[in-house]
Symmetry: C2
Subunit: 236 residues, 2 copies
């Protein structure tokens, strides 16, 4: 838990996904090409920067101790979806080139075109550029992993973090990321997708409820960490 | 989540663990020998019954759809601690025989003697008996799995369920089960142990706080399930 899903757009994005790119149709306005793919160890530097931005956004930088090294030693140790899994969101002003490296038996990248009303300036494009052409930039990510419901007797997914960089918010990209996790859960026969939200974040709560989620009012998270956890080293 | 940790004893157990059985010392009073070991697929019938008792306790039987078959097809698919993991709590009025089947590289069973003031009658002993001698009974379990903190950049454990059968409550056994998970987390270098509690369950909250946990007041759980989740099957 800990890291929060930042508040997604409170209202439906003005420009909804228009489906997969179609070579016979020319996008109108200002097209933003978006792709969701499985992250790889090569993405760790960008992922680390995104997590740091999230900590700043949430005013929780005092809790931020992750390093590229700590992420590298704990992520990507299992096949996708069986443990900690990251979907990376990339965007471009041009159609994505087919990159067979990102296709796997586990997951075929998702592509959408968002037709924006205005052209978009990304002040951090240089920091988050990806790929050889430099036009593709990393815009966000979602980190999730299996959880388990004993009542259902089957797994689900827990979404630890959902983050979209500021200049790409309120366009439907956060919804696309979360939908990708929900869709994957259904395909795997899983029973639930769960995550947490701050109770004062009414915009986020409204957004999640519009996506079909229930907010459970009575449950509270208990956390044992730091010296209080360390005290159990020799307790058993 | 979903299934709750039942309210553990609000006060320290009257008879605290007294350490590993020692053949040179005769336990006084009414000794209860307790063992925590990794569960195996052979334990599924007992685990299923324990989950059902938990659903009754929480008045949530309408959410209980797990079957022995659904548990068998989803649990014990990974090495211990890397995915869904169950510690089983067994008790006996006699010392446990050494059972090398339960010793593994992953986890050495934990044994404790609880000296009770009164002898204990287990009305469900027949249902929950284990082992060839019939004196060992299953008294509870804890199901947990790895979660991940992006801020810490490392895993933790999430405790989905902690359950002790009614006649064995308020003796320190729930604390022993949760301590076993915390100790395992520390040994693995993990950063947190987390679980949830109902906000009105003041006895449980007090117990958890005495164990060193913080209850986070602001976070709420969001859950996408049932038809609302199913709707994402073809959304992507």
């Amino acid at each position: 838990m800990a890291a929060a899903a930042p508040p997604p757009p409170p209202t439906p994005a003005p420009s909804a996904p228009t489906g997969l790119p179609d070579s016979d149709s020319t996008p109108v306005g200002h097209p933003l090409f978006a792709r969701i793919r499985l992250a790889t160890p090569l993405d760790i530097p960008h992922i680390h920067k995104l997590i740091h931005q999230m900590a700043i956004f949430e005013k929780l930088t005092h809790l931020f101790t992750a390093t590229e090294s700590s992420l590298a030693s704990t992520l990507f140790k299992s096949p996708p979806f069986l443990s900690f899994t990251i979907f990376l969101l990339e965007v471009s002003s041009h159609p994505f080139e087919k990159d067979s490296n990102f296709h796997s038996q586990s997951f075929t990248p998702i592509e959408r075109i968002f037709n924006l009303d205005h052209s978009l300036i990304d002040p951090e494009a240089e920091t988050f550029k990806n790929g050889i052409n430099g036009d593709v930039v990393v815009a966000g990510f979602v980190l999730f992993f299996p959880n388990f419901s004993t009542f259902l007797g089957k797994p689900g997914f827990y979404v630890e973090d959902l983050f979209v960089r500021e200049c790409y918010r309120r366009k439907g990209l956060g919804k696309l990321l979360l939908s990708a996790v929900a869709s994957q859960a259904v395909k795997m026969g899983y029973g639930r997708v769960e995550w947490v939200v701050l109770d004062w974040n009414v915009n986020a709560i409204k957004f999640y409820e519009e996506m079909g989620a229930n907010v459970l009012p009575e449950w509270r998270i208990c956390r044992l960490t730091g010296p209080a956890l360390e005290a159990y080293r020799d307790a058993i």
